[in-house]
């Protein structure tokens, strides 16, 4: 509990210093509006309904891209983790694609998919798929050989081995991969919307920059931060429920 208390103190301390700097005129209020002004902007944008619309657009994009990335990342990770010949073929390709930052995919994504939801789905997918894949692969490679042997000598066939042994044994490592993937996916959706969309939080920030509405720009940034924080917390909650059995061994 002390940890949580210190977290709250730190957070409000940060807000207070920011407010003080703005009130005392240390920072130019056009370049960095004060927390109170930003809060006012958040309220205005919420009341006129535009913030909700943009949030929903961004969430839908990150959700779709992330689901596809999770499905493909886990599937490829399981297959390459289990089969050495598959990993010999796929690993070099993955290792060559992985260092390309998702942002660098944006121009080609617009070229391929135009403007709208599709480039965002694609960029979220690119950002999220690698951590999911790498963690799943590492998890399967690290499974205790004698647990697999135990299952085999007890008569487990391939589907029971996958469902009751390989997947649950890998989950404690797959989950952090999913969490990191979702976080990167959330950054990617905003980056994609800055240039390749006509709705969403990224688009909203970009529009308001053009209109010189800095409070709205910062309001958008704050919303992104709060939602990212919430998603990470939700994933953590879900994770603890599903892999509670591994908690005490960490």
């Amino acid at each position: 509990m002390a940890t949580r208390l210190r977290g709250v103190v730190g957070f409000f301390g940060f807000i207070a210093i920011w407010q003080a700097l703005a009130s005392l005129g240390v920072v130019n209020s056009f370049l960095l509006p004060s927390p109170l002004v930003v809060a006012g902007a958040v309220i205005d944008l919420t009341v006129d309904g535009s913030l909700g619309r943009h949030v929903l657009a961004s969430l839908e994009r990150v959700f779709v891209g992330f689901l596809v990335a999770a499905a493909i990342g886990i599937l490829l990770g399981l297959v390459t983790g289990w089969s050495r010949s598959t990993s010999d073929v796929l690993k070099p390709i993955v290792e060559a694609l992985r260092p390309i930052p998702p942002i660098a995919w944006t121009p080609i994504a617009i070229l391929w998919f135009g403007v709208g939801n599709a480039p965002s789905y694609f960029l979220v997918f690119i950002g999220a798929v690698f951590p999911v894949f790498v963690n799943t692969f590492t998890a399967v490679r690290g499974i205790d050989r004698s647990q697999i042997n135990a299952a085999l000598c007890l008569g487990a066939g391939p589907s029971l081995l996958l469902r009751d042994v390989l997947i649950p044994a890998s989950l404690p490592i797959i989950f952090p991969g999913l969490r990191i993937g979702l976080g990167i996916g959330w950054m990617c959706v905003v980056a994609a919307e800055l240039i390749a969309a006509e709705s969403g939080l990224g688009y909203m920030i970009q529009q308001n920059r053009v209109l010189l509405q800095t409070p709205n720009v910062v309001a958008g940034m704050v919303t992104i931060g709060v939602i990212g924080f919430g998603m990470s917390a939700l994933m953590g909650l879900f994770e603890r429920r599903v892999i509670g059995w591994s908690q005490s061994t960490r």
Partner: protein, 272 residues
């Protein structure tokens, strides 16, 4: 129930195993021309210093590994892969940590496609036989090492195998728990009449449990000698004070000492 000596259960024929570790280096010869038979219902201890190839031999019998030469027959058929007629109890338990004790013990029945109701009843019966009743819903990390090994023994017995293979099952347990579990295994093996191959590096444990102690040499593992244990079964704690038991343990120790001394010397050298 099967009385010992009814028939041939396992036949190990000229089994050698080489491990190729690195290109350009000579392979590690873990086993060299092992010939051994195990009768139905017999309890055989494989005794040898660590690193002599006991686990390798057990893994080959289980079907987890293939020999470099030779073969192993189970009821006359060559062993190609693991199957539920030969179940294994591992030193590190190898319980599934995401399953409760009950689910672990049921696993072999689930693999056979048995319905949940019937397998729960059977598993509970075996859990009672290893004295774990009341711990069905615990996860492995919530119970002690001795209890984990009891659960893993129940899990291995549930599919009704012909042979139970045990690889230093009590190696990680404290001395008292170890003695208690030896007595438990003595009772269970007498009750069920299962054929057991029990790997250990403890002379006392080998003699206390087995109908026959098979002594292996240091690497490359070969069979050095075999000792028939004439004590009646089930084995009970008092037999540890039997004159024949004490003498046999002592004689085995005298004959093995040079081998094991050399082993620990080379270990010590390797450490320095």
């Amino acid at each position: 129930m099967t009385a010992p000596g009814n028939g041939l259960q396992l036949k190990i024929e000229g089994v050698s195993k080489r491990y190729f570790v690195r290109r350009g280096q000579p392979p590690i010869q873990a086993l060299e021309r092992i010939d051994l038979t195990v009768r139905t219902g017999e309890f055989v201890s494989l005794l040898g210093p660590s690193g002599c190839g006991k686990s390798t031999l057990l893994n080959i019998v289980a079907g987890f590994q293939q020999p470099s030469e030779g073969r192993v027959l189970h009821n006359g058929e060559p062993i190609m892969r693991p199957d539920r007629r030969r179940t294994v109890v591992f030193q590190d338990y190898a319980l599934f940590p995401w399953m409760t004790v009950q689910q672990n013990v049921e696993f072999g029945l689930k693999a056979q496609g048995m319905d949940p109701g019937s397998r729960a009843v059977i598993a509970r019966d075996f859990i009672a036989r290893v004295h774990l009743s009341g711990f069905e819903d615990r996860y492995p990390h919530e119970i002690s090492g001795g209890m984990k090994q009891r659960a893993s023994i129940a899990r291995a017995l549930v599919p009704n195998p012909d042979v139970v293979l045990m690889d230093e099952p009590f190696g990680a347990l404290d001395a008292q728990t170890r003695v208690l579990l030896q007595e438990e295994v003595a009772r269970l093996s007498a009750d069920t009449g299962k054929t057991v191959v029990f790997v250990t590096h403890s002379i006392e444990e080998a003699v206390f449990l087995a109908d026959r102690v098979v002594v292996m040499t240091t690497r490359p593992g070969r069979i050095r000698s075999q000792v028939e244990v004439k004590l009646p079964r089930p084995r009970v704690p008092e037999m540890r004070y039997d004159a024949w038991f004490i003498q046999t343990v002592q004689q085995l120790w005298q004959s093995l000492k040079p081998d094991w001394q050399e082993r620990s010397d080379s270990d010590a050298k390797a450490r320095h």
